[in-house]
Symmetry: C2
Subunit: 360 residues, 2 copies
């Protein structure tokens, strides 16, 4: 009621006065630390506010009216709502600086690693979960957007051929394809040389398009080898991404970390979390949200349409270079997590793997 006097924004929603923010921030941070409703008395004491609990109570009542806080029941302290957390994250949060040793920790994880793409992703989800103590999530790049440097065919036996894609950054991916006729390794080698000439520096997507075009052309113009090369590679590219959502693979590690969080002390919530993480649509939505935004993105459970995961929160960051975002990495945790610490960690990790993936 008192806040009536304050200027309101164009949309009619009242702005928060500096003092409101101070209190909101105190509530959010105390709640992050304690996981319990925070009361007026506790706040003034802990933060040495120069106002009485009664004043704080008034402010808190206002904040509740505006939807930033709630009470679990009439005479308990307040806890922040989704909106409260959102405001905190967007406007109140002061990112902590990273310790150099934390940076080292992240970098070291990658020092002795080969370039197999799966291994990098697995390592990343592990690193994230280790340093943040929340489960780490990694969305693997759409391989089809990667620039190809080299392709290789190896005859396994009659009817089966191993295809190896090597990206410009040295990432490796392999697939087995079935093939009716028997092709000798020599012939495959010639096809390989042929294709590598054409395809250098294109993304898989572009190559796919080009192949389709070539097939459409009148095929009599070309010799048999070329013919074979085209159909073979069509098959090779078609196999991509059968399972896993839209070409994207997902790595999750460190789920056991979630046991540390008091809000997951009941099994029901744990199940919800696990079930949510299985939901491909949820993950896809998260991926989309985080990939097409710059920098670290915090997504609160309420803001995603799927599943009953209100008290969860995702901290995600895209990776790759600015022109071509490859995927996203991040962590899941309780909504009341230590964003000040986690955000820079996720960001830094994403920078590190972006570099690794890009260095040629």
């Amino acid at each position: 009621m008192k806040r009536r006097h304050y200027k309101t924004e164009s949309n009619g929603a009242p702005t928060l006065s500096p003092r409101d923010m101070l209190v909101l921030r105190a509530v959010v941070e105390d709640y992050i630390n304690s996981a319990e409703p925070v009361g007026s008395r506790a706040i003034v004491k802990k933060h040495r506010f120069s106002m009485s609990p009664a004043t704080v109570r008034n402010i808190m009542a206002d904040l509740e009216e505006e939807g930033y806080l709630t009470q679990p029941h009439t005479s308990a302290g307040r806890i922040p709502t989704g909106k409260g957390f959102r405001f905190y994250i967007d406007s109140l949060l002061k990112i902590r600086l990273m310790e150099p040793q934390e940076k080292r920790l992240i970098e070291d994880a990658y020092c002795n690693i080969d370039m197999e793409i799966g291994v990098i992703m697995k390592t990343t989800s592990r690193v994230l979960s280790r340093i943040t103590h929340y489960p780490g999530i990694v969305f693997m790049p759409k391989f089809s957007r990667i620039i190809l440097k080299h392709i290789e065919f190896i005859r396994l036996d009659k009817g089966r051929i191993l295809v190896i894609f090597i990206s410009k950054g040295g990432l490796i991916q392999n697939r087995v394809i079935e093939w009716e006729d028997d092709i000798s390794q020599d012939e495959l080698d010639r096809i390989t040389r042929h294709l590598n000439g054409i395809m250098e520096n294109l993304t898989l997507e572009e190559i796919k398009g080009r192949i389709v075009k070539e097939i459409e052309k009148d095929s009599k113009d070309y010799d048999e080898l070329y013919q074979k090369a085209i159909t073979l590679s069509k098959k090779a590219f078609d196999v991509q991404g059968e399972d896993s959502i839209g070409d994207t693979e997902i790595y999750i590690d460190g789920t056991s970390n979630i046991f540390d969080q008091p809000e997951f002390s009941n099994i029901k919530k744990m199940r919800d979390l696990y079930q949510a993480l299985q939901e491909k649509r949820l993950l896809l939505e998260l991926l989309e949200k985080s990939m097409f935004s710059e920098g670290v993105q915090v997504i609160i459970g309420e803001e995603v349409s799927i599943g009953d995961i209100k008290d969860l929160s995702f901290v995600l960051s895209p990776y790759g270079n600015p022109d071509s975002i490859l995927g996203a990495i991040g962590i899941v945790g309780p909504i009341r997590m230590d964003y000040a610490r986690v955000i820079p960690l996720v960001e830094y990790t994403s920078r590190v793997i972006s570099n690794i993936l890009e260095r040629i």
Copy 2:
């Protein structure tokens, strides 16, 4: 006391009379179904025994004295001890036959699969967890015991070479190695051809041994190409198995299934389980135990020296052909699991993947 009169075995431990077994079995099976201590009255009722609860009580008291049962507190029913379960599994258990449709379910999972080894293992752990509703565990073969069919070197860029191993069964594994000098792809191709000639039909281990021998020989005898081939392949084989226990990789899937079990309704136990599964030593011990025994092996938590996992049980089966066991697969669950159903499922799955891995 009454059992005094019974014949005792050579080691002095009394054998169980047929009636004791009947009761023990009833207790174990009822406990498997209910997860709750089972009392004397309930048993007679449910199993239509032709004796009174009092008699059963006496027998149960004896069984407790011998260590097959315990009471959680003075006036509750009995629950089987580890020893009780062990006896049940070894002597009392009647394996149920598998439904043909269950067999189909397992087979179908593998019908559309390429032969990349990681994919097979991942699929297996998923299949196991799906059909048993317990977390599936897969120990990946020691790659060094696999018979090699083909090796391939591909130049990634100056200083880095991709090595691809293809096993006789069509399994694929790749590694990146660093190399001081620049080697052209042509040269690598020649080396490849050379090596493939020598190495056919040997295991990685054997090849490794052979390479070491070759190096020890006076090296002047050979031309430069051969020289390079040897050192190159030494490097390729040396990289194997840096992380993961003794060349063995572990896949676990479906851990969320464990939430269904009433005994894991408290977080403490869940943590114990997760922590146990992280413990490499535990897993290694399990692997050893199951690999060097024939057929399905049930390992009760008590019987493993590590961690506080008393109420867990593992059902594991080795796979591969009898002459060369490659690894083990199986599941973890609460000690009171439906062995009659799970054991044949694990066994059948292990047979299926053994076949897949072996067909050439």
